[in-house]
């Protein structure tokens, strides 16, 4: 009211303003320094290196966009590794959500001993990826592996899983789904948030189990699905350890599991092509951002936020 007659004053700073500011920055100082030293500084350096020819021992030589041009026009391994990663991402994201959702639904049923079962289903999470890779290489062994023994015991000839270019990539997807219980954990947490009344009213309206899954669970869970799909895509582009360990860094057979990161690792640490590898890292970052934005943009079409407008 007073401001109607008086000229507006700058909001007065509290007497302890400067002390509070200093105190605040002292508390967050570790992460501020950390971001500058370990993230933003290197990002700028990496952006610069991507425009150079840089073989670590010599100084970087500026070559403009040549690395990027070469990547997209000449490098056939780049195209191969990109295609491998995309195909993997599609299979992993879809299979991961289906398995994760079904398991989560199962793990939120009201039965006794549930926490015991949850423990069992979550356990693969803590297995070191090197160990799970070696474990699954044995499981998938064509001759002596337990999986093909099961096939054989019912009179079927099992595939050559990791040994054949046709099935190696899908075998890697299976490994990731097995180790990916985090997806399930997040779905379980999401399902626990769905109000029970919605299921009750669906039941009263005559919905069967499948219908209530389709018309209650899925919409109520769509923000969680959204989250898991985005993190699943990011995880796909980070995929490295199992492929590296199982194929001993080769991405075989015949480059069928030559993931983007295997390629990047080769360029950087086998051939010491630091400039070229930096360009690859930025292309990957660009792809991840583009895909994330695409999903964000499409989300109003399929993500349901309770309370209407999303912030």
């Amino acid at each position: 009211m007073a401001s109607l007659t008086q000229p507006r004053l700058k909001p007065k700073r509290s007497p302890t303003f400067w002390r509070d500011t200093l105190c605040g920055y002292l508390f967050i100082l570790p992460v501020v320094l950390g971001l500058l030293i370990w993230t933003f500084g290197p990002m700028i350096a990496s952006a610069y290196y991507s425009l150079t020819d840089y073989k670590i021992v010599d100084e970087p030589v500026f070559i403009g966009l040549k690395n990027f041009v070469e990547l997209f026009t000449k490098d056939r391994l780049f195209a191969q590794s990109l295609s491998v990663t995309f195909r993997y991402a599609i299979m992993y994201v879809i299979l991961g959500q289906v398995v994760g959702l079904l398991l989560a639904k199962l793990l939120t049923q009201r039965v006794r001993g549930l926490s015991f079962f949850r423990t069992l289903f979550y356990l693969p999470i803590i297995v070191p990826l090197v160990a799970s890779a070696l474990l699954w290489r044995y499981m998938f062994n064509k001759e002596y592996g337990p999986i093909n023994a099961m096939f054989q015991s019912v009179g079927l000839q099992g595939p050559n899983w990791l040994g054949s270019p046709d099935s190696a990539l899908f075998s890697m997807v299976i490994i990731s789904v097995w180790t990916g219980a985090v997806t399930t954990i997040i779905y379980v947490a999401g399902l626990q948030q769905v109000p029970e009344e919605l299921y009750d009213s669906a039941k009263i309206d005559g919905a069967n189990a499948l219908q209530s899954f389709r018309f209650v669970t899925i919409p109520m869970l769509s923000p969680t699905i959204f989250f898991n799909v985005v993190t699943g895509i990011i995880a796909s582009f980070q995929f490295f350890i199992p492929a590296f360990v199982i194929t001993q860094g080769e991405g075989g057979p015949v480059y069928s599991t030559y993931f983007y990161n295997l390629n990047l690792y080769d360029k950087a640490f086998r051939w010491l092509e630091m400039g070229y590898a930096s360009a690859m890292a930025w292309v990957m970052f660009g792809i991840i951002i583009a895909l994330t934005l695409l999903i964000f943009r499409s989300s109003p079409l399929w993500v349901y936020y309770e309370g209407g407008v999303r912030e």
């Binding site: 509070d20 500011t21 605040g24 920055y25 002292l26 508390f27 967050i28 570790p30 992460v31 501020v32 971001l35 030293i37 370990w38 993230t39 500084g41 290197p42 990002m43 350096a45 990496s46 199962l106 793990l107 049923q109 039965v111 079962f117 423990t119 289903f121 979550y122 356990l123 693969p124 803590i126 297995v127 070191p128 090197v130 160990a131 070696l134 474990l135 499981m139 002596y144 337990p146 023994a149 054989q152 015991s153 097995w178 180790t179 990916g180 985090v182 954990i185 947490a189 009750d200 009213s201 009263i204 980070q238 350890i241 590296f244 360990v245 950087a268 640490f269 630091m274 990957m284 970052f285």
Partner: protein, 299 residues
């Protein structure tokens, strides 16, 4: 809302309905158990086979058909694999533990300090920095990998534990800050106000009010950090080059590369790497799962 529709249905005998309903309930409960047990067996099978294979003889592993349990139990595989020529698993374990011990305190200390700053202090630029912290989660580590490698190369840190130990002392990871901040925000402000009246500074409030009250969140952070370091592969692979500096994960990979056919020994070392983490998980599952839920982190 549902209550209004819950009127009795006149045409069906209520008693009959109840009985049928209960029968169906039991049937579906049975089905749930069948699925739970079947699924659990499928998920556990690889781990069971890992341990069982680690106890089998070399010839038994390479005979068809594979056995579920060892025909002849060979616990002697364990010392044999552990002391195998050209490997040094005792040293690699020691290296891993050294990294753990020198990293976890830094993560707990600095992530909780930063989380306190973001949760409780007001200062210009706070939200901007918090957004930057969260945004850094989206950045694929590959983007910074190469400049960091070059930085460590120039600092002479390659083939030392420093590239693995030092960075975590700077905030302890964005997800951990986020997790602790969420926890700190739930602590009633009246507590710090009372402490301020008593003359306590923020450092004191952080140490003697927030940290003790946040034990579950701190345990989550510590456990996720331990899991992360124990399982870390890419970091050691890039920064540690000579076998005397290897971690367990790296040692296991070298071992499998040298002796691809010794599935028995590979499973021994895998089991030895997995079992401590399984025990940790069984003891502290609540904290680990909570940490995963809050941070939503993916391997």
């Amino acid at each position: 809302m549902t209550r209004a529709m819950d009127l009795p249905r006149p045409t069906v005998d209520a008693h009959q309905l109840n009985a049928a309903h209960r029968r169906r309930q039991r049937l579906s409960q049975g089905l749930v158990y069948v699925l739970l047990i079947g699924g659990a067996l499928t998920f556990m099978l690889p781990l069971i086979l890992m341990v069982s294979t680690s106890l089998k003889s070399y010839t038994e592993i390479n005979t068809y058909p594979p056995s579920f349990l060892p025909k002849e139990w060979l616990p002697s595989n364990y010392p044999e694999a552990w002391n195998y020529q050209n490997t040094n698993f005792p040293l690699w374990t020691q290296n891993t533990l050294t990294i753990l011990l020198l990293t976890v305190p830094g993560v707990l200390l600095t992530s909780s300090l930063c989380a306190y700053g973001f949760a409780r202090l007001k200062f210009p630029g706070r939200n901007l920095w918090f957004i930057l912290v969260l945004a850094s989660i989206m950045l694929p580590p590959q983007v910074t990998l190469i400049p960091l490698y070059i930085l460590f190369f120039k600092l002479g840190w390659l083939n030392t534990f420093l590239p693995l130990i030092v960075p975590p002392w700077f905030g302890g990871g964005a997800l951990n800050i986020f997790l602790l901040r969420q926890f700190f925000m739930q602590i009633p402000r009246e507590l710090d106000e009372a402490a301020i009246i008593d003359g306590a500074g923020h450092l004191r409030i952080w140490w003697s009010i927030y940290l003790p009250l946040s034990r579950p969140a701190l345990v989550s952070v510590a456990l996720l950090t331990i899991l992360g370091i124990w399982n870390d592969f890419l970091g050691p692979l890039i920064y540690l080059t000579t076998p005397n500096k290897f971690t367990l994960a790296l040692g296991l990979n070298m071992f499998q590369g040298l002796f691809v056919t010794r599935t028995d020994y590979i499973m021994v070392i895998s089991s030895l790497m997995v079992i401590p983490m399984i025990l940790l998980f069984l003891v502290a599952q609540r904290y680990i799962v909570q940490g995963f839920v809050t941070s939503g982190l993916k391997g």
